[in-house]
Symmetry: C2
Subunit: 148 residues, 2 copies
DNA sequence: CTATTTTGGATATTTTGTGTCCACAATATA
DNA sequence: TATATTGTGGACACAAAATATCCAAAATAG
C-alpha cells in the first residue's frame, strides 16, 4: 500500500502552477524542468489532471496549463483521487465467490471507515496550505517560482 | 492504493483460527478448505504470519497452526502490517534526487499524519471484535466453525 | 522408524505502474 | 489564411510487484 510516484509528481507540478498562478498558461516543458521530471512522462500525467478537472489546458501557441480552481480548493485528496482513482481500499475479493462472512461485512466496514478517516485527513491539506503553511519557510518556496 | 488480496485471505484464515481456538493446532488443508483458498497459496501466506509473530506453527504429525496471541490482541492493522509491511505510504522519490521542497517536507508530513489516522483506526478493530462485534450476527459466524 | 506437517527456496504467471513516441487536433498571431 | 506552437489520445515497451505453484528438506508425534 503506497502512494504512486505519479501522485508525487502531479503534486509537484500542481504546486508549481499554484506558485505561478499570476502568469497565464504555463507550458509543460517549463513545469517538467522546474520539478525535474521527464517531459514525456509528465505530459501523460497532466492529461489525467485535466480530465479530473484539476487543471485547464490551452492548446496552440502560447497555450499551456493553469489551475482550474484556487489553490485553497485543491486538496491532497483531490490529487490522489485524480491520479489513482477512488476505488474501495478493500476489494472484498471473496464476496464474488460466495463469501460467508456477515452482511454487511464487518471487515469491509472497518476498512471503509479507516480509509474515510485517511481521506478526511488528506482533505484538510491543500495546495495553498502546503505553499504558505506553517511547516514551510518562505525561502523554501523559492524553487517553485519561475527561473528569471 | 488497495489492500492486497493476500491480506484479505490472511484475515479470513486468522478469523478461522480465532473461532476454533479451543481445539489445538489446525492444519493448513482444513483452513484452506474453510475459507476457500487454494492450499499452495495459503501455505506461503501462513509462513509470513508465523514470521510476523501472529501465529505459532507446529511441525510434524498432529502439527498445524494456532494464534500466538488472543484474538483481542490482534488488530486489523497487525494483519495488514504482517502481510504488506510497514513502509512509509509516501515514498518521497524526489528527495533522493535533491528535491527542493522544504525540510521537513510538508507533503510527507501530511501523508504521514493521514496514514497514522488510518492505522489508528484499523488498530481499534480486532479479530475478537470482528467475531462477536456489533455488526456480526451470531448466525453469521457459523461458517467459521469447523465442519462436523 | 515412519507418517505427517511445516519450511524455505526456486520459479512461473499475471497485473500494475512507469516511461516513451508520434500523428493529429486546436489555436494564437503574423 | 498560413504557420509555428502546444496539448491530445492511442499505442506500445519495459520494469516491478502481486499472485500462484511446486518440491526437497527439516521437524516431530506416535
Amino acid at each position: 500500500m503506497q502512494v504512486q510516484l505519479s501522485t508525487e509528481f502531479a503534486l509537484h507540478g500542481l504546486l508549481y502552477l499554484a506558485a505561478n498562478s499570476g502568469r497565464r498558461p504555463i507550458q509543460l516543458p517549463e513545469i517538467a524542468q522546474a520539478i525535474r521530471v521527464r517531459e514525456s512522462y509528465l505530459r501523460k500525467l497532466f492529461q489525467q489532471l485535466v480530465r479530473a478537472g484539476l487543471v485547464d489546458a490551452y492548446r496552440g501557441a502560447a497555450g499551456g496549463y493553469s489551475l482550474k480552481r484556487d489553490p485553497e480548493e485543491i486538496s491532497l485528496h483531490d490529487v490522489l483521487a485524480a491520479v489513482e482513482g477512488t476505488a474501495d481500499l478493500y476489494r472484498c475479493y471473496a464476496e464474488q465467490r460466495s463469501c460467508r462472512v456477515a452482511r454487511p461485512c464487518p471487515i469491509r466496514g472497518a476498512f471503509a471507515q479507516a480509509y474515510d478517516n485517511f481521506r478526511k485527513s488528506l482533505s484538510r491539506t491543500t495546495l495553498a496550505s502546503l505553499l504558505h503553511g506553517e511547516a514551510l519557510q518562505s525561502e523554501d518556496v523559492e524553487w517553485l517560482h519561475a527561473p528569471v
